[in-house]
């Protein structure tokens, strides 16, 4: 079955609404309504394998009452369809202090090859 979507291109402020269609093997069969090539490439990526950076928080075991949570991010974008599962996995994590900026909190989340790292510090 072919799949169709309207993808808003985010590559420049024009924000073209690109119409894109792929077949069952994820080959682009048609694309229209884009003003430059970047829009076509972007729309294809968005319909075939959209990816997003996930930012969220994990619990910290700490005496420090102002910081019960540690903000974290995936180091790179992961498939959009995995965001909810990644949230579930991270909900089960409790980090011991001290944690430093950039520490790996969850390596290779959901076998994506992408690590989740701290974007702040809690030292005590």
């Amino acid at each position: 079955m072919n799949r169709k979507a309207e993808v808003i291109c985010l590559q420049c402020p024009l924000a073209c609404r690109v119409e894109v269609e792929v077949d069952k093997d994820n080959k682009v069969v048609s694309a229209s309504n884009y003003k430059c090539k970047r829009g076509k490439t972007y729309a294809a990526q968005e319909i075939i394998n959209p990816v997003r950076v996930l930012t969220t928080t994990v619990r910290v075991l700490t005496r420090d009452q102002i910081h019960p949570l540690l903000p974290v991010t995936t180091r790179e974008a992961i498939p959009k369809g995995l965001l909810q599962d990644a949230m579930k996995q991270l909900a089960g994590i409790e980090v011991k202090t001290p944690v430093k900026y950039g520490d790996v909190i969850c390596p290779n989340i959901l076998n994506t090859g992408v690590d989740v790292v701290a974007t702040s510090e809690v030292l005590n």
Binding site: I8, T55, T56, T57, I66, H67, L69, M87, T119, S120
Partner: protein, 417 residues
């Protein structure tokens, strides 16, 4: 209370957000001897510690960072300096460049040679926008919800309606959804989304969140806690149209209906305010009161924290020039927003230096031209209220301006009014 402590400094910065931090570091670097930074909360960073999403730092640090990471970098820079950082210290009075500040135990009077305002902005609340209906628990500003979820670890509700399509509201729609809450819908008064398109795509469309533009919340029902939120379509006068009501079960209503600068201190000492909502500033970021400079969101709401830091640094550099008696004030030309321009910053031009003009349009237009007086014009495929326009004008051209500068934006209507 144990008496009043008096002290004298070169530069006092009020507010420890991305603006105040940048200003304090820069003031020291530019040669101010004693710099003091006052922050009322226990932690530095302003709004950014609760902004755990990405998108900060691309301009300033050449790297995409989360809000906490952006602040982490600035605080590390600050730690290398001898700036006197006073947290849990609230400036409660400003008389010229004299500050009265309240710390846990004492009052401190700080006689500064120059003051930099970096108090940021706060969110408009229910009272500011007059939503009818009951007054149950469960109505929060989007920023309060952001703080509860991202800093305190508490999800404010299970079924949420969001009023207002500003960036904070959209970002909270995604955050709540990812945390397992249901975002029932997002409601916007205007016929278009108020925040950035990136957020519309990645926070609303990605999660199939229903959006009602040209609608508003016409009733909030619930005794102790919100039980239902009623929305209505609106007419040309922005009034709810009877008969168009839609009722949603919800336990929470979030408001993302704009930001207003923290003006209490500014008005107290006679700083003039502008259509931005914040203090009038000239191209050297000095307010209408001599020796008081301002930067960041207290002046106008910047699109990027990077620009907040940048404008505050400029305020700091000029504050130091002021102290040393060589602020390059040559003349005075007023800058005014004209057609389709909600506001322009700076509000006056006093130097012969290059100037960055920042402005926002009132209505989205396509094939638009922005004209700064008769001398500079720039074309845009689209202009949108959510996207700040920045036009840098070189010094040679600025010299040409002798009379008041009116900024106009013409183009074709992109969304019907």
């Amino acid at each position: 209370m144990s008496g009043i402590i008096e002290r004298s400094v070169d530069v006092a910065v009020i507010g420890g957000g991305p603006g105040g931090l940048g200003a304090a570091i820069k003031a020291r670097e530019a040669g101010a001897k004693n710099v003091v930074l006052l922050e009322r909360s226990e932690e530095l960073g302003g709004m950014l510690p609760q902004c755990i999403h990405n998108g900060f730092g691309l301009h300033y640090f050449k790297e995409e960072l989360s809000g906490p990471a952006y602040i982490h970098r600035l605080v590390k820079e600050l730690a290398k300096t001898d700036v006197d950082v006073m947290t849990q210290t609230m400036a409660i009075k400003l008389e010229g460049t004299r500050i009265t500040a309240l710390t846990e135990k004492t009052l401190t009077r700080i006689n500064a040679k120059a003051v930099i305002l970096g108090m940021g902005c706060r969110e408009r609340s229910r009272g500011n926008i007059r939503i009818p209906g009951h007054r149950p628990a469960g109505v929060f500003t989007a920023g309060t919800a952001q703080r509860l979820i991202n800093v305190e670890g508490y999800i404010p509700g299970k079924k949420v309606v969001i009023l207002g399509s500003g960036d904070i509201g959209m970002i909270m729609a995604r955050r709540l959804t990812l945390e397992g809450a249901e975002v029932v819908c997002l409601v916007e008064l205007l016929p278009f989304i108020g925040g950035l398109i990136r957020n519309e795509v990645q926070c609303l469309r990605d999660f199939n969140i229903p959006v009602y533009t040209s609608h508003t919340v016409s009733d909030v029902i619930g005794k102790n806690r919100v039980e239902k939120v009623v929305i209505s379509q609106i007419d040309k006068e922005l009034k709810p149209i009877p008969g168009t009501e839609k009722e949603f079960e919800a336990d929470t209503l979030l408001l993302s209906v704009g930001l207003i600068p923290e003006n209490e201190l500014s008005t107290m000492t006679g700083v003039k305010l502008e259509p931005t909502g914040g203090p009038q500033v000239d191209d050297l970021w000095q307010t209408s009161v001599s020796g008081i400079f301002a930067g960041g969101n207290v002046v106008h709401v910047h699109d990027l924290a990077d620009y907040v830091t940048e404008s505050s640094e400029m305020a700091a550099v000029n504050a130091v020039k002021y102290i040393n008696g060589y602020l390059p004030v040559e003349r005075k030309v007023n800058v005014k927003g004209g057609k389709n321009i909600r506001y322009v910053v700076p509000n006056t031009i006093v130097s012969n230096q290059p100037v960055s003009f920042f402005m926002r349009v009132t209505w989205p237009l396509k094939n638009a031209t922005v004209r700064i007086g008769g001398l500079v014009s720039k074309k845009y495929a689209f202009v949108r209220p959510s996207e700040q326009i920045r036009i840098d004008v070189p010094a040679e051209m600025m010299k040409g301006f002798r009379e008041d500068i009116i900024v106009n934006c013409d183009g074709e209507e992109d969304v019907a009014r």
